[in-house]
Symmetry: C2
Subunit: 460 residues, 2 copies
């Protein structure tokens, strides 16, 4: 194992030589080399500390000692495929089942959110014997070929939209079709799905699945309006399709009040398939699909084995169990609720002083800060958002990034041990950066006015 | 972490209740519960030892202490995504590059052989701007939707053959079109690919890739005839396609004499894309795609990021490096060469005494024993193969399994520390089982003859 074997320049040169350039770096102008991490803090090759606001994968904190301990003990004892019986997988499935509504009681373990979403699509199509899929605008469900097909965020730049994929409006009440002034945006957005289903039917096609993140992330850290999912599920079920909740980014207590983000839609709502991934193994490649007896039964009925070489192995499941233990023992959902509310409150206060902050939204430690150049038109302030990311890194050593179709939403998805002090720090720094930026903006505006005046004088 | 928390019956009951039944168990009538392992040995809940002849994933041996040590140290230090710079990934890519021909110098790290093959398909299609793929009969390339499409072993039972997929004959010199008596089976089989390309062209379609395992595994532990790949590569390149070598099962020295199985085809042959997986992390979910500067360049040129959440993280790459170190330090390729040759020799001796052994083939620790009911017709002895698997487990606690379209090839793909004594034991046990089985067969034949004689007497 190499630790800081090479200078940063050497590492970068080797990376450019050996790794496909499609694999991009954060801060590509001056990337960060990290050599150790703990909790919500990263340390570069000089020992300089960065506050990490974005590593949602390292869910219970970077390098949590109890996860490492469990992983090492299980690695020393046994790692084998699931064609042999082992307690870890069934115990882990049992623990996950306890977190879900009763009907989601059958599990398939895989290695990544992408593998989970690919399998979910197979399950949906096999069960319904229909092909078509409805997805939300700007959605991203993974890097596999099947998932690029159902990810408008990707397919618009690549292969284009397939005839079996249909894009519903993103239920974004800040920037979308129906906004905060609408009496019932949940119903109104659900009706757009109903209309889409009617359109699909009119072409003689049939819906296998409505596929959506419980809180659309790449779409811009969107909080679904109340009532949306229940109504959509009704329409989709009527069409013979199933509701797939992609919880790859949002599960495992990130929203604080609930273990799963789909539960924010109320007890009356239950998806037919739930996919999970990123936070599940705290960085270890581990993901899962949960579904119903009926859907799993239809998949079994095709008579073909599903074998995933690494999926569900004793080490992965031991790590998954350890992550659940830490979430409970350290009461991380409570922390996410508390710190997330505090962060949102601070950002909302900031909004009263900075016109550029168009919208603050979030729940638990899933928070978005949407920047706009004009509050009335809501024109995205993409450049300022990029500047905030860059200056937070350079001046304050704080890592955040942006999301949304216009990359103008500063997103916060930190490890769940993120503290009140961390929230205070990042908001204070954002305040300073926006203040300087707007002053410079005024100066720039003033300068432009002067130049214009000067030019006008010359012209006359 | 749970260790033998439940009785075997409880584990089995929980598994049946909680895990999709498409995920099958070995020895489904009486599955084995394994709770620890070391080297090439598995131990059940009663401490009974099983000799493992099939876990090719646990490549350098189950629970190798130096892998565990490295993994735990890196888990304690840092695990983060590859948007940050880190030495492990570039160092690992550099080590892999040293094992490959110079032109295969660009790497993409992923979590499973399936993810690797899906990406390989994307790379091939993006680079060539063609769609069609040629695969070998009975091939299996993974569980993802895109890979079921290019796996005759799966699509024949599921969605059927897509118009862009073309199946070439398996270059099997024991059972295929051209056999051991053919003067040049390599060229003859390559010509079947040429004919297929001509047929594809005549439909106005274009080849993106010829996609094949370097030694077809599910196809029946097939050893490609000499000259085949070089010739196929010529034809595929002429058609504007690329040659993808799936080394997911066969890489990392399994064949002993070479690090990659494609190298068995001689120095004149080099694939354009190589995918790797199973043995790479000794059980840790780790896989990779290696390709050329030109193909990677075309993939970058589409302007779309390729991000794999867990792929290439510091823990995975530390484990990958540790596996390479063990292969070298313990000279496991030499062991594979020596023990594999010994195993093949013993099985070949067995063949002189048992008519049911139609063919013995293999290289290094990739060995197949093909059973037939008739050496002339080569009719597959599927039942006897199943019986060998069952009796080896029940009577001798030895795990083997079968492959091939008729499940009549007993396969050996053990951890690379498999010993001469292990080989002696398994062959001795197979000898005994086949002897008893054929005696019982004779008795049965004798009984049938008596019954027939008896019936005949009655009739007259």
């Amino acid at each position: 194992m190499a630790q800081d074997t090479f200078s940063k320049e050497e590492t970068l040169a080797m990376r450019r030589r050996l790794i496909g350039h499609s694999c991009r770096l954060f801060y590509s102008d001056d990337p960060v080399k990290i050599i150790r991490a703990r909790g919500q803090y990263l340390y570069d090759e000089h020992g300089k500390r960065y506050l990490d606001c974005i590593s949602n994968v390292q869910h219970v904190g970077h390098c949590h000692p109890s996860i490492t301990e469990v992983a090492a003990a299980q690695m020393d004892l046994l790692n084998i495929n699931t064609r042999f019986l082992h307690d870890n997988m069934v115990q882990y499935a049992d623990r996950l089942a306890a977190s879900l509504p009763d009907k989601l009681c059958i599990f398939y373990f895989v290695n990544s959110g992408s593998e989970a979403n690919d399998l979910a699509l197979r399950l949906a199509q096999q069960y319904t014997q229909h092909q078509d899929v409805i997805v939300l605008d700007h959605a991203y469900h993974g890097h596999l070929m099947s998932l690029i097909d159902i990810s408008p965020y990707k397919f618009r730049k690549l292969s284009g939209q397939k005839e079996w994929v249909h894009v519903a409006p993103l239920p974004d009440t800040y920037r979308g079709l129906y906004r905060e002034d609408h009496p019932n945006p949940g119903d109104a957005y659900a009706d757009t799905v109903k209309d889409l289903i009617d359109e699909v039917h009119s072409k003689g096609r049939k819906i296998s699945a409505f596929f959506a993140e419980s809180l659309p992330s790449v779409g811009g850290q969107i909080i679904m309006p109340q009532g949306y999912s229940t109504k959509v599920a009704e329409y989709v079920h009527s069409a013979g399709g199933v509701f797939v909740a992609d919880e790859v980014q949002t599960g495992f207590g990130r929203v604080g009040t609930h273990f799963w983000a789909f539960q924010l839609q109320g007890e009356g709502f239950c998806p037919d398939i739930v996919t999970m991934g990123k936070p599940m193994g705290n960085g270890h490649p581990l993901a899962c699909v949960a579904t119903t007896v009926e859907i799993a039964g239809a998949f079994t009925a095709n008579g073909v084995e599903y074998f995933n070489t690494f999926g569900g192995n004793p080490v992965s499941c031991a790590i998954g169990l350890a992550v659940l233990d830490v979430i409970e023992k350290e009461d991380l959902r409570r922390n996410a609720t508390k710190v997330g509310a505090h962060l949102k409150q601070l950002l909302t206060q900031l909004q009263t002083r900075h016109d550029i902050i168009g919208h603050v939204r979030g729940i638990g430690l899933f928070v978005g800060l949407e920047l706009v150049t004009d509050r009335r038109t809501r024109a995205p302030a993409t450049k300022t958002a990029a500047e905030v990311v860059k200056r937070l890194k350079e001046q304050d050593r704080i890592c955040v990034s942006t999301d949304g179709p216009w990359e103008n939403v500063v997103k916060f998805k930190p490890p769940m041990c993120f503290s009140i002090q961390d929230a205070d720090l990042v908001v204070r720094c954002i305040d300073r950066i926006i203040t300087v930026s707007s002053e410079r903006g005024c100066t720039l505006l003033h300068l432009q006015a002067c130049v214009q005046l000067n030019n006008t004088s010359k012209a006359t």
